[in-house]
Point group: none
Chain length 401, copies 2
């Protein structure tokens, strides 16, 4: 498979425009009573029209049988090998709540937990305290400075929080304090290399002060830290693809992932209509548009088959407004499947369509799992999407002579 | 994916015969008026018969979305990873004009260019002078010797020429003189390692003498050199596959590529009838036949849909004469698509068929893009073709026990 640097050598800038519409968790599983998936149940005349005029297939987001989280799923969609570019757990939590990480910040994922009178962990999640209580405790732990290091402690959800360390000479070359086991003592954070010494020392200071501060807050009487990490060094979208790329996404995680690869973030409402209106408004100003729609995934996660069907129909209806635009290339797919039947992300390949004037249409005339099986693109890796979209937009030079 | 050396360990010699028929640029795009591609428009009863009795699919020549040049396209067909075996620009120009490069020769791609009175490049292509003028200037620059180095300067097309340096201790470890920018001065060629010193010195001497010789030949008053390279070290076809392979090709580039991997070259006429007659004539003497037909690509490059259709029909008609031979394995495909609609190579997957007595036929009964989508081989990389052909010819041992 071609490497990102090689694509970078072939990419050229041109006025043509690419829209990548990501309908989160779009793939599903059939309802046993009807034999139809959410997408097969929904009435989607506009997606079907694009499928008919375009070329279809099924993507494996990261690898056959692998259920991806949103981060590796999106990295692959953007053309970055998710096995090569690793996003640390701490950084992921920061992206998820929209915290504006700086280049040298070290972020860690925190858990409020319960320790017994001997200091052994009895509950790694402190009884899943409420998000409100988590916010209150984060406020208690918030320290303006720890020595010369600025600290940020922010609630995520339930027992989860984010700790960010900002200062000179901080490197994430340290072990976790979270042993990820019950009945063990929290680990002392240790450097894994000479550059990690200061980070380890500061992290242990933070943990010690947190223990003192929380001593009366049973069950949330201790903290666990893991996944110390910095923003990964990722080649920028603009440099790799020579694209002026923007993200139209309502949720922090997706704005964060787009920002990570160097896209500009455009503020938008969260309904499909609002997101497409935002796209229309900015259509002349940029040449790559990543549009993320979250509601399908949320419905799938809730196990709500009918709500997922309804959401897909709303997206399809809103899509009509876009079809009059000169979309040189439009790609529609998801970052993974989220079958309502499984109430979560899954490994199932995701329906994919690409429309351009030069796409060599296939015989698929409906955008859904069972029809995409026979698509002209077959089954392929999400990593191949960006080169394909670039080629269809005539933004890639010939390889070799 | 299996590596070339591993195939080499499994390959065995046997009397069975493999024909690889490469119809250059065979894949296309539909004519908007009919919805049919060139191949779908052409009447091809013989190819269709092979498709019906054989197994079909679609190949990506080098990678999804990547438009290959002929060199990487062919390397992949021959089973050599085009990202691993890089053919330098100079070597490629030599192959393209049929110059017989020796093992230690260093070849460079030259441009006649225009420099202004301060020596800054004002046109990298000297106003695209005619090929005739290029030939005349090459004659002027031709030096029998430069110190102890034999020099060859040969016209390619328009402003392009080939420079070959033949002598002791010449290594292509040097930088380009071509800055590939307007308004810059040509670079001094510099060694990138100790072995490149002599080559750099000779190249600069050549450039200096060319500047003097061309001083009155505005706009072609200077030369630019790039892509200094030697023939790549490629494992030979005979050693890897244990095949006695021959190439039946009329154009220099394809003869050159076949020679590069160690095939013998058989002289032939350039029409499909003549090439198939050559194949028939030599059929008993060898066991692998690479047959290259160029005319489809030329018609596609010219944007001449009808001529491409007609050429395909001629190939099909000529193919009839071959079907009575005992072709143990025949593969028919292309090194890339060349849709008349795009007037050039493209990234679209290429129709593929393989016939052998043991090929597990699929339901495809027509050799064309839309039918091959449903082929039994699906969509796959051209790199997989050689192992597949070898297997069908019973020329590959079992891997492992």
């Amino acid at each position: 498979m071609i490497r990102l640097e090689q694509i970078g050598e072939l990419a050229i800038s041109s006025p043509s425009k690419i829209v990548m519409l990501i309908i989160d968790g779009i793939g599903g599983l059939p309802d046993p009573r009807t034999g139809k998936t959410e997408l097969e149940t929904a009435k989607t005349p506009n997606l079907d029209r694009l499928a008919k005029e375009g070329i279809c297939g099924l993507i494996d987001p990261v690898s056959s049988g692998i259920t991806p989280g949103s981060a590796p799923g999106h990295l692959a969609l953007f053309g970055y090998d998710p096995f090569q570019f690793d996003i640390g757990r701490g950084v992921l939590e920061a992206l998820g709540i929209g915290f504006d990480l700086e280049e040298k910040d070290v972020a860690a994922r925190g858990n409020f937990c319960t320790v017994d009178s001997s200091g052994l962990i009895s509950d790694r999640r402190a009884g899943r305290i409420s998000t409100e209580e988590c916010a209150e405790l984060c406020e208690l732990l918030r320290l303006v400075k720890l020595e010369d290091v600025d600290m940020f402690v922010l609630p995520v959800r339930e027992h989860r929080f984010l700790a960010v360390f900002r200062g000179e000479e901080l490197y994430p070359e340290v072990t976790d304090s979270d042993p990820q086991r019950i009945g063990w003592r929290p680990n002392i954070v240790a450097a894994t290399g000479p550059r990690g010494e200061k980070m380890a020392q500061i992290a242990n200071r933070f943990v010690d002060r947190s223990r003192e501060t929380l001593s009366e807050r049973y069950p949330a009487n201790m903290v666990l830290l893991r996944g110390f990490s910095r923003l990964p060094q990722i080649p920028k979208f603009s440099e790799t693809y020579k694209l002026d790329a923007v993200a139209i996404a309502a949720y922090p995680m997706y704005k964060g992932l787009a920002k990570l690869v160097g896209m500009k973030i455009i503020e938008t409402g969260s309904s499909p209509e609002e997101e497409f209106a935002t796209l229309a408004h900015y259509f002349n100003e940029h040449d790559f548009f990543y549009v993320h729609i979250k509601q399908t995934d949320s419905a799938g996660e809730d196990g709500d088959f009918q709500r997922k069907v309804k959401t897909i129909e709303e997206i399809d209806k809103a899509l009509f407004s876009l079809l009059d635009f000169k979309l040189d290339v439009i790609v529609v797919t998801g970052d993974h499947s989220t079958p309502a039947l499984l109430k979560g992300h899954s490994w199932h390949p995701v329906p994919f369509l690409l429309y351009s004037e030069r796409c060599r249409p296939d015989k698929v005339s409906e955008f859904c799992e069972s029809a995409c099986v026979s698509g002209g693109l077959g089954r392929f890796l999400a990593l191949d999407i960006m080169p394909l979209a670039m080629a269809n937009a005539l933004k890639l030079n010939k390889f070799g002579a």
